[in-house]
Amino acid sequence: MLLGALGLLATAAALLGIPWLLAVTLIALTTEFMVRQLAQSLSAASAIVYGVGLLVLCETVIAATTLPRGAMVERTVAAHRLLGVSYAVVVAAAASAVALLGGSIRVGEAVVAASIGIAAAVGLLTATGLSS
């Protein structure tokens, strides 16, 4: 509960123009979720919804801080931002589900699992570097 309050406080501060405080929000709300997960053993869907919710929260806060005051914003820009967040929600939900499915695979050895994880991370970063 305390962590959730801290997360919301950090969100409010981020809305005032300090986007870096979103990191505090994410850490606090994730810890809060994990505490509840350990205590109550929530369903797998709740993790997906919570992850997507965190992303939407961050996107909303950043969108609010990047829209300058007194600016003339075209309707299509606002609509396009909403559309972008909608795409992101779909992709994020899919990614979250894949991650949960991946987590259910039992590799056996922790070292092997870590190696697969590192290889996946390197592959992801390489793909990112190539695309940019």
């Binding site: 994730t30 994880g117 991370a121």
Partner: protein, 424 residues
Amino acid sequence: MTRSVSPKLAIYSGFAAAAFLLALVLGRPELAALGAPFAAYLVLALALVTPPDLDVRFCIDAERTVEGETVEASVEISARSAVHEVELLPALPPGLRVGEGASRMILRLARGQRKTVPLAITADHWGLYRVGEVAVRVRDRFGVVSFDARVPPAVRLRVYPRTERLLSLVRPLETQPYAGNRVARAKGEGIEFADIRPFVPGDHVRRVNWRASARKQALYVNEAHPERNSDVVLFLDSFAEVRRAENGTLDLAVRAAASLANEYLQVRDRVGVVGFGAIVNWLTPSMGRRQLYRITDALLQTEVMLSFAWKNIDVLPPRSLPPQALVIALSPMLDERSLRAMLDLRARGFDLVVVDVSPLPFADAPDDQIDELARRLWRLWRDALRYRYEQLGVAVVEWNEQKPLLQVIEEVRRFRRSARRAYA
């Protein structure tokens, strides 16, 4: 274009990496489920980034305007590839501001689309400006990467000082030989009756004053004062000024000079300008509307620059100060060089009027008794200085923003009526 990334790239990637690592270490797939949306979002966003290809142009309807007026301008933007979000921020120099409407615009352009954003620019202060600088920021579809560019200023905008309508002017003591609207003291051809004199061969019959001729039993003709013009030189002291925020003594002096030039040129006088400061510039007297534009352009370039070089009026070419010209000096009476130059002008026989653009309203309010005393001493010193000029027959009138220029002119006229009797 400069490429930069949003803070969310670091936040999201850091969070996703930490979540994945903790998921591995703790063996909790829920943590991976929380980090995965952020990782997927970043991968998607970075994969779709393309550098923008667009063209931004700044257009303005008028090259000239007057202080306080608004000029219509526009920013034209065209995109050769689709731009999801482009932010335009026209950067105006101090003295200009965006009038009505937003100063910042966020648009979206499809491939090959062209858009024009209207912009109203209000000129708050006279000057010569270079406008057209526009900061452009293009964001990608997800706002992770942005591209920044700056369109350099390319358009010149002249903002002329606002002028005050003057119902009367300081009348020059002497007129010039050219035709104008002023009644000369000399007698000759004209409309204004001056005197009668005996007829001499060559006089026009229509000038015979029949009533006087009948009374005196000899032919008498009317004499008239011819209509002539005068030379007026506006002597602008730009050695020093006192400034507070947007306004200063030089601004007031330039506005007054523009008003006087406009009014004297309307009555067909020849008007010239001498800018006497660290940079000396001049404009020989001439008449007409073109001269008004020349004078105003010259006034726009007037600025105060620090200089310790001693200057006197010998640096000015003789044509800039024609004999028998009325010299109206607009000075804050702060710099010894300009004070000496004005005395020198009087000593050389010029008809001199000094408008003392008072620096007192621009000085800081006194904080303590010492400040108050210093201010009083300064005021006394300025009074003594004005008295010194008045002793030489020079009208010196203190002027500040609260006082209409017309009142200054009336004070000068009143002084000159009495001074002519006292010092003639």
